[in-house]
Symmetry: D2
Subunit: 362 residues, 4 copies
Amino acid sequence: MYRAAVMAAPGKSLEVRDYPAPEMEAGSVLLDTIFSEVCGTDVHLHHGRLAGVPYPIIPGHVSVGRISILSGEVLDVEGEALREGDVVAFLDVHESCGSCWYCLVAKASTRCPSRRVYGITYSADEGLLGGWSEAIYLKPGVKVIKLPQGLTPERYIAAGCGLPTATHALERAEVQLGDAIVVQGCGPVGLNAAVMAQLSGATQVIVVGAPKKRLEMARAVGADHIVDIEEHGPDERIAMVRELTHGRGADVTIEATGNPAAVAEGMRMTRDNGRYVVVGQYTDAGSVEINPHWDINRKHLEIRGCWGSDFSHFYRGIKVLAKHGDRFPYEGFITRVYGLEELDEALADVEKLRVVKAVVQP
Amino acid sequence: MYRAAVMAAPGKSLEVRDYPAPEMEAGSVLLDTIFSEVCGTDVHLHHGRLAGVPYPIIPGHVSVGRISILSGEVLDVEGEALREGDVVAFLDVHESCGSCWYCLVAKASTRCPSRRVYGITYSADEGLLGGWSEAIYLKPGVKVIKLPQGLTPERYIAAGCGLPTATHALERAEVQLGDAIVVQGCGPVGLNAAVMAQLSGATQVIVVGAPKKRLEMARAVGADHIVDIEEHGPDERIAMVRELTHGRGADVTIEATGNPAAVAEGMRMTRDNGRYVVVGQYTDAGSVEINPHWDINRKHLEIRGCWGSDFSHFYRGIKVLAKHGDRFPYEGFITRVYGLEELDEALADVEKLRVVKAVVQP
Amino acid sequence: MYRAAVMAAPGKSLEVRDYPAPEMEAGSVLLDTIFSEVCGTDVHLHHGRLAGVPYPIIPGHVSVGRISILSGEVLDVEGEALREGDVVAFLDVHESCGSCWYCLVAKASTRCPSRRVYGITYSADEGLLGGWSEAIYLKPGVKVIKLPQGLTPERYIAAGCGLPTATHALERAEVQLGDAIVVQGCGPVGLNAAVMAQLSGATQVIVVGAPKKRLEMARAVGADHIVDIEEHGPDERIAMVRELTHGRGADVTIEATGNPAAVAEGMRMTRDNGRYVVVGQYTDAGSVEINPHWDINRKHLEIRGCWGSDFSHFYRGIKVLAKHGDRFPYEGFITRVYGLEELDEALADVEKLRVVKAVVQP
Amino acid sequence: MYRAAVMAAPGKSLEVRDYPAPEMEAGSVLLDTIFSEVCGTDVHLHHGRLAGVPYPIIPGHVSVGRISILSGEVLDVEGEALREGDVVAFLDVHESCGSCWYCLVAKASTRCPSRRVYGITYSADEGLLGGWSEAIYLKPGVKVIKLPQGLTPERYIAAGCGLPTATHALERAEVQLGDAIVVQGCGPVGLNAAVMAQLSGATQVIVVGAPKKRLEMARAVGADHIVDIEEHGPDERIAMVRELTHGRGADVTIEATGNPAAVAEGMRMTRDNGRYVVVGQYTDAGSVEINPHWDINRKHLEIRGCWGSDFSHFYRGIKVLAKHGDRFPYEGFITRVYGLEELDEALADVEKLRVVKAVVQP
């Protein structure tokens, strides 16, 4: 039997339930969970803000574990066979169909209607398909990467689900050597984006956010400037960014806040003919007023939404973390580690921004 | 002496004034004006809606004329010498500096602060620098193109300033073979965009606009479907576009309306991972509410502002018009030709949308 | 029983064999073949120039047929159910895995090692998996498109396998409005490329090739200029292209010849900072000498290989053909229609360039 | 009077000549030279391998100096006024016209026919227009950048002309986070490219070259692997690269050798659907045989020539060097510093690869 924390319905306390060992389909893998995480998405899940979630669910979309059972030979994307005892991460996104119009014509697999996500759109009734559990069942075909030498489970989970998200955002950002970048937000996605921006050739990274503890972490990962939104109003913030960029604004701005108002502000923080990547508006938090003349047309601005991530972002993110991760104090993101019984508290801590990163150790 | 229609100040009636023949600097060209045009920008100028306009001005930014005087040898961009009697068009944009940060680093010459525009940001006190005049003085360095064989002045002015604007918009649109395109607006820019979309590989062009006369012209230039905004409300229009596109929305939408509300609507008319080009928000006509989650982030949408045009758009637009123009009833855009004394009337007709295209024949 | 023409081994005469009706797997489709084609690839297959071909095979990769049997509900990519009697085309490429490094990280499904192709890499022992047959068995998951209204089977097969190939080549070409394009080669791929170039915004299309009959067809589909390689040597041809393009060379050149020497020539026909798409070097026909200084570096040239095609090219090609095909005399490509017993003759006719397009009517 | 080293004609010994102080045009700047450099291009100049060089010349295209005279107010691209005593670098490329077809339509200013280069295409008879001189005359309009705080003249000249060249090459390379990069060549351009690749997001950099001293420097700047061409033949080198990249080859290869044979090899070191940037073929060193089927078409390879550099590369290169330069032992590139009388020796040392970088201190 394995213990797992179950979110039975929006608003209800988490319950720890026992699940039997799964029946292993051919090509499936069972993990002993080492770490999972609690992120803003889990708070949204707990408030019922996402449509189509099949409660009860076992949350936890990004996790790391040790292979306990392999049902037959399972290869990774490089063609290497996985082995029992390997410490691995896996892509939470599964079942993109490869056959629909979005997969085949638009080549936008993150918009595939068949796509499902561990810890979010699988039900607890379907099995151990989330990370807040002693074991995670990886269905046949789930994409697995063995952590490269030198990349610890701690560092991987510290980067967490912000890692592929930020990798995707930076792909959309097309940063050039010497660019000045604004990152709006200093939660897990914003902090990862601040790191990835530096690794993509930026020479100036300005992080705009709050609270102080997170801004300190932004500074610690190399942000050249921080702008504290608790101290400066929107107009002042825009003015500060412009002053830091010869009056022009950032070459590229990356939004990672979840706050609709940030979108108008971000447009104004970006220079004419710059690029603005919107990655943080994961749920519907309302509207914002923009002025299409000043904010888009006259600026000759390019704005790119960025939804989800695919295997390439997961794969590239891990390569980057393994190679360059030790230059950044990732482990410092982990404010506290929670057991399965403490997850109501973890959700509250994440919601109140009392932690940078809440990690689950089942 | 040459007669020119002068806009002395916002809101004042046009006056016809006499100007002496200009002193010809080395490398300058004098044109006998064949046609100029009255476009929406001129209405904005007349209402004083553009900042930094040095009234009094001679309006008329896009024009066609016959060379009456050449001051020394003047070459076109292909290295061919111009001759007296040549029928030519010229790029209204002049004096982009080639030395500033925007010209050199951003490579965004339409955002160069030194950029000036015939008929808009040159004063009548500086000379015959607008098209509502019997003669136009082309300063040294103004870029001139001789109309290619088979391209009549009528067709050129019918396409008018919408031609380079739409050429630029389509460059930003990156249409692929087989795309479904929505064009919002059926004024001169929208109609040109509808043509250019077809010439860029689109297989379905849907024009959304009003009034009926302009929509008929959209149909005449090949729009597959028209959506009359006087008959259908915004939600219905979005639903109509989706129904025409297998429920997805357009691959690419091009906004050419000037109405801020169109921007939210256009986002919703575009499919997930599609592209939205905003080219019509030439003046500040107010704000619009958007929902960043649904309209940008979750859609994985790409939005591109498109400001002004540069020589390449002018050059490419003329090539396309010369080659393919006879497949489209461009001359039908010209609803009425006005003399220099009739330009108050012309401005009113343009503003009230009583004409598709108002042409000036000085 | 169904009759099919079988290529038992390289160099051997085609044999017509009888095959039993296939057992229909769930989701499979059986077609009564209307047309298939004989193309240069089939000549290569007959000479044994492609590696990994599992002879005996039933050739014929691009075909059109009428659905005779549907095993359960089969949907097209738009979600519409197919019906018996529908006239359909199908993507010959099948079994791209969606799971390998090339599919997932490089996003280059045409380089997926699992990819197989009807009429080329399926064996006749596996079933009716080629078009030179009275019936074609479409395995579950083969992508099917119902021919749109107005697109006849004749026109579809006249465009043939050159249609998706040229669509892909033009995607790689990124033609801009007003570009001058050289197409090297006037076989089926070259002719389709000449059409697609026009539909992508080119204003000048120069076709370089032979023999005369094919060049006439190039002229018939709208080439502005033709250069006969039987009359002009390589240096002269380059000079001719330059003379037609203000001394610069083409903005974009598309190679569709299969002759290695054409590649050096094509580089020299392209302008500085132009783009060169190499799509015709489908088999190893030897080497060519290039000068990297003059041909690549100093020219600031961009060269793009183009291998195979995927569903998006098949889908877009059909949309374009349905919309714009009637402006081009596609049916004129079909020089002769062959029965199953005449395919040795057809192969010889294709090899000797005695036909533009050889069509098979089983 | 100022002393300058003059290359009077190809093959002749350098002569030190005296020049009078220049007459300062409005907007011009005079520099006291701190450092200039001797690079491979200077060897080519000395052998007369470049066309159109107006001997006698004062070589030295990339230099750093202190402003001794300012003729009026001169602003940098950020709008800041330069001052006497400022330590500055300047863009050697000057007089790109901004008016020709290449500047305006192709937007390829490095192919502008009017473009001239300090130390290469200006004659000594025109003035102090090269860096091997006690003073350098910057004509009005020459683009100047004040070295940012913390960037020493030593480090700037150590990076030298390879800095903008590599910045341009990396722009063409479009490296993605997590890419594996091969750099062919470990001269100044190759070493800079190895640095810039890491700063652009690569997680694996393989440098292929010789001699040992330069390979050690490649290792010192962070190359993960080196391949010594004096120890391994071409096929073995290709095999080594493939073995380091899961059998696939590099995601991106950057050629910086000047050896035509490297181009065929580089194609084969690059993975299918990868990108190959050819930047080192600066002079005509002969031809190379390639196989268009295997090397381009079947590989779906993208090859990009990269010629010269423009202001943006100069500007971005300096920003990157100022921000990240201290992570790399740039100063170690400087093997020896030469006086004006020692430049024959310097040319010989560069040609024989006895030095990594030869610096001139007039």
